[in-house]
Amino acid sequence: MTPSDRLDATFAALADPTRRAILARLATGEASVTELAEPFAMSQPAISKHLKVLERAGLITRGRDAQRRPCRIEAQPLAEADAWLARYRQLWESNFQRLDGVLEELKARATKPGRRKR
């Protein structure tokens, strides 16, 4: 997968409230499907489907214990997505902060009578 494909998979997996809630739960420690299904009004097969999406996106891994197969969160793809998001937001936030500064100047110019537009 290219970095872009990986980001796509990460964000697609995150585009669902149940999967985000599952990840939030797994951020506190590993859990079995049964434990994960508990807080949701959902069958275990439905939860398993969500887990497959998360697993394919590399966001979780599952243990080998055939009975329990505990799920655990994988930090790497989330960290990559978060770093990307941070750069993107930072770029636009700094652009818009500079725009704030430009607008302050334009406002000062507009309230000073006799000053003409440069």
Binding site: L14, A27, Y88, Q97
Partner: protein, 164 residues
């Protein structure tokens, strides 16, 4: 006073990304800052180290614009440009955007609404294909994209809350 942190990023559809930001100025001034080359060159920059040595805006329907950014330290240059489709001062600008080296183009709609002397800017980028979006994602400037990044922030926030 800082407006930092109130930038909102959402995804109205899978080919769109929308950003909303409030500015403490009337929209006529925001419109001016968005469409005057000497002003655009001062704020529409990339990550640290990038400047915009070239900014050309022919503000009329069918008119072209061209922005070129440069990073002297890295010896890199990157440009984008397009054509104006709609210009309604001081409330709406629609233009195409084609980044250097990227296939396809995006249609960017900027709308400005004013209330109590403050202006809400909404910028919606509509990509013509997933390929165009991905190519945009991979450009040197890492400018533009799709999908819902605010969802990630929300997830990370909720994960942090659940930890205690």
């Amino acid at each position: 006073m800082s407006n930092s942190g109130n930038l909102q990023v959402t995804t109205p559809s899978d080919r769109e990304i929308a950003m909303t930001r409030v500015f403490d100025a009337p929209r006529a001034l925001v419109f001016e800052a968005l469409t005057t080359p000497e002003l655009v060159q001062r704020w529409l920059l990339g990550p640290p180290g990038w400047t915009m040595p070239h900014c050309q805006i022919d503000l009329k329907v069918g008119g072209a614009y061209r922005y070129v950014w440069r990073n002297d330290e890295k010896g890199m240059e990157f440009g984008t440009g397009g054509e104006f489709r709609e210009i309604l001062p001081p409330k709406r600008i629609v233009h195409t955007e084609r980044m250097d080296g990227a296939p396809g183009e995006a249609l960017n709609t900027t709308s400005l609404t004013e209330q109590g002397g403050r202006t809400t800017l909404t910028l919606t980028m509509l990509f013509d294909s997933k390929e165009a979006r991905d190519a945009t994602l991979q450009t040197g400037m890492e400018k533009g994209v799709a999908i819902s990044y605010d969802r990630l922030a929300e997830l990370l926030a909720s994960a942090a809350v659940r930890k205690d």
